[in-house]
């Protein structure tokens, strides 16, 4: 069993062999991966040591103190949070060896080709087709809301491989090379003015069968691993008091007494309390995970996060009064990462509208809480036993 002392020792060894001051950033990250200190809960040989997940904090603290470069995890959130755990669970040995190291170091950024214009909340209704042809699959279809596709080297992709069976049974999961011919990434401009999302058109894209993840027809189950990890990633942040969206508005309130009104004061205090309770709930969830008694709070964290972000940013635009009528910049930009609390109040207000849609709409998440946590009856399903090709569209 690898304990904290052992991890500290190994981290010091890494630092001694590769002094951060004189080592190239990427060389250091690769050496860290090879030493099993990238994500310590991963298996040996794949960037980890099979240690308990919470001991990662021990390694991170040592490395930070030594001024070591980190892998700028926010730039590859989909890779780290969703692609990696899915590849770890369903990948072949070759796939794990090939993809996990450059994914972790950030040499290869990942995106997620899941949603389609006709398959959002009803993701299993997707229509992108993958047809076998020799050792390849030929893929045709259109994906949408693809964050970061313009920076991505690889994508996780789900496509329909058998239209003659019910919709959940005919899906297969692939790893798609975004540089392949036939992959066309087009910016999708959003209400904020920037294009953080994309549409991705797939025209006769040839994916080798070696890039299939899991069994043919088992893609829905594989995708569940990705989606469960998505929600954990969104709810798992650890913040100090006033660490989230409430921070900027509290600061504005303190610095600009001339903007204060009684109505806004009441709303601000209420949201401050709710932000603090949300932070405590996330902290309680984290303590439960560490103690090995996972709770269900994670299912609900994203709901609270989305609602609070929207209410708080809306309040801030109002608080700014005359300035609230202005916007910082409508220029089309292609950001490398999503920054909910960046830019000005108007941006935060508009961007936060997506928080209740991306990664599962609040309506779908409420259904999930009601059914899986509270055990209430599922929605009636008329499409469950019908072949996908026979569904009305």
């Amino acid at each position: 069993m690898t304990d904290a002392a052992e991890l500290r020792r190994r981290t010091q060894e890494l630092l001694a062999a590769h002094p951060p001051a004189t080592t190239d950033r990427l060389d250091f990250l690769r050496a860290r991966f090879d030493a099993g200190l990238a994500w310590v809960h991963y298996p040996e040989g794949l960037g980890g040591l099979g240690a308990p997940r919470h001991l990662q904090a021990v390694v991170d603290a040592e490395l930070e103190a030594a001024g070591a470069p980190d892998n700028d995890a926010r730039r590859n959130g989909i890779g780290l949070g969703m692609a990696a755990p899915t590849i770890l669970k369903y990948g072949t040995e070759e796939q794990k060896q090939r993809y996990l190291r450059p994914l972790w170091t950030g040499e290869e950024v990942w995106c997620q080709l899941f949603s389609e214009p006709g398959a959002g909340s009803d993701l299993a209704a997707l229509g992108t087709r993958a047809v076998p042809d020799g050792d390849d699959w030929v893929v045709n279809g259109q994906k949408v809301w693809t964050s970061g596709a313009h920076n991505a080297r690889w994508a996780i992709l789900i496509a329909r491989t058998d239209p003659s069976v019910p919709k959940h049974a005919g899906i297969t999961y692939f790893l798609c090379d975004m540089t392949d011919p036939g992959v066309d990434v087009r910016p999708l401009r959003q209400i904020t003015g920037e294009a953080e999302f994309n549409e991705v058109f797939l025209s006769d894209v040839r994916i080798p069968d070696s890039c299939r993840l899991g069994e043919v027809g088992n893609g829905w189950r594989v995708a569940q691993t990705t989606l469960n990890n998505e929600r954990v990633a969104i709810g798992g942040m650890r913040l100090p008091r006033e660490g989230g969206m409430i921070g900027p508005v509290a600061k504005t309130w303190r610095e600009r007494p001339e903007l204060r009104t009684h109505d806004l004061h009441q709303r601000l205090l209420k949201l401050w309390v709710e932000s603090e309770v949300s932070r405590l709930t996330a902290e309680r969830l984290r303590q439960q995970l560490v103690a090995g008694q996972p709770g269900y709070e994670g299912s609900g964290m994203k709901l609270a996060f989305a609602r609070l972000n929207q209410e708080i940013s809306g309040l801030e635009v109002e608080l700014r009064g005359q300035e609230g009528l202005l916007y910082d910049d409508w220029t089309l930009r292609r950001p490398e990462l999503v920054d909910f609390t960046g830019r000005d109040a108007g941006y935060r207000y508009l961007r936060s509208k997506g928080n209740s849609i991306e990664g599962g709409t609040s309506e779908v998440l409420l259904n999930i809480v009601a059914e899986r946590v509270l055990g209430l009856p599922a929605e009636p399903r008329t499409d469950k036993d019908v072949a996908w090709k026979d569904l009305a569209r």
Partner: protein
């Protein structure tokens, strides 16, 4: 760092209290009792205080108590809330005890800790920590006046009375007139205490004792509110899985599922806030902010949980025989007890520097 979980010992304590209350405080029994002249369940109180030693949780062992912490008391209050138990636990084992701990009155503490005596602080239940409490008049060494809204005074053996000289006085119940008031919450009835030239024993300064007692009560009341809200949610989910309309379980309709899921989310928040307050009271760290946050959050959630429970039970929820009204009345009364959510938000505004205009 704040410990927001329950320890194994705390879970064992919960199980023991829940067992005891299952035997003593079933809903039909509580309802029947509210209609009698003696709404308090003194048999349940004796079993809790004397049998299990829970009245002395906050009192050090050398003074005859259990030397436990606010975290354990919070667990007891969760279960008492879940059963809307009509026992003077909050008033005697928490409020009066905490006031006596500030004053250092060992003799009285010992009696309260053992459950041999029930104490009540003669301050209106609605009073927020830090608010100015109404006092009795001290004239020629005796106490005069009328104090209203005193919770559980009807069963108290000793009343702790703040007087206009700044002192806190211990007064035996025999010496005063206690007149029951018709209370919204039938399970924590209020009374008027009339003092007509009553002798009292000065046990200390009123201001610090009352402030400390009410702050503790406010923080731990969140755990009682958690018990109330958790009962309302659990019971409503159970009922909606059973109850059929339109040939389907009512709980399968999305409009209702979303309401319950939203409520679950708020109760999860209430649990975190209540645990944080109990832990902050036990450790003394960041206590004022954590208590104010817990009270500002808990009251509206507990009220909403019981209001949702009533609505989603339909007609049966409106009847006297179904216990949901006991919980609604307790939740609404609790939302005023020890200061409203708004009062706690106002305190918070000062504490975290979000000043009013």
């Amino acid at each position: 760092m704040t410990d927001l979980l329950y320890s194994e010992e705390e879970e064992a304590l919960r199980a023991a209290v829940r067992d005891l209350l299952a035997d003593h405080c079933d809903a039909p029994g509580v309802i029947a009792r509210t209609e009698s002249g003696a709404p308090h369940d003194l048999a349940a109180w004796k079993a809790l205080a004397d049998g299990m030693g829970l009245a002395g949780l906050l009192v050090p062992e050398e003074l005859g108590g259990q030397g436990a912490s606010h975290r354990e008391v919070a667990v007891v209050l969760e279960e008492l809330g879940r059963a809307v138990a009509p026992v003077p636990y909050l008033t005697s084992a928490v409020v009066a005890t905490e006031a006596l701990l500030v004053c250092g009155d060992e003799e009285l503490l010992g009696r309260l800790a053992s459950g041999r005596a029930i104490g009540a602080l003669a301050v209106g239940l609605h009073t927020a920590p830090g608010a100015v409490a109404k006092t009795a008049r001290l004239e020629n060494g005796t106490l005069h006046g009328e104090l209203t809204g005193i919770a559980d005074a009807a069963v108290a053996d000793v009343l702790l009375v703040p007087a206009d000289d700044g002192g806190l006085y211990a007064v035996t119940a025999d010496a005063v007139t206690v007149t029951p008031q018709v209370s919204l919450d039938l399970t924590r009835p209020l009374a008027t205490v009339t003092l007509d030239g009553v002798p009292g024993r000065r046990i200390g300064d009123a201001e610090p004792a009352v402030r400390r007692a009410l702050r503790t009560a406010a923080g731990l009341l969140a755990s009682e509110q958690l018990g109330v809200a958790d009962w309302a949610l659990t019971e409503t989910v159970r009922y909606l899985k059973e109850r059929k309309q339109f040939n389907r379980p009512v709980g399968g309709f999305q409009a209702l599922k979303h309401r319950l899921a939203q409520l679950w989310l708020e109760v999860a928040g209430l649990r975190a806030a209540a645990r944080a307050a109990a832990d902050a009271l036990a450790t003394g760290e960041d206590t004022d902010v954590t208590v104010a946050v817990a009270q500002a959050y808990s009251s509206p959630v507990a009220v909403r949980a019981t209001e949702e429970a009533l609505q989603l039970h339909g007609g049966i929820g409106m009847t006297w025989e179904h216990p949901v009204h006991l919980y609604l009345k307790r939740a609404k009364a609790d939302s005023i007890a020890c200061g409203t959510a708004g009062a706690h938000r106002a305190v918070l505004a000062e504490l975290v520097d979000l000043q009013s205009p």
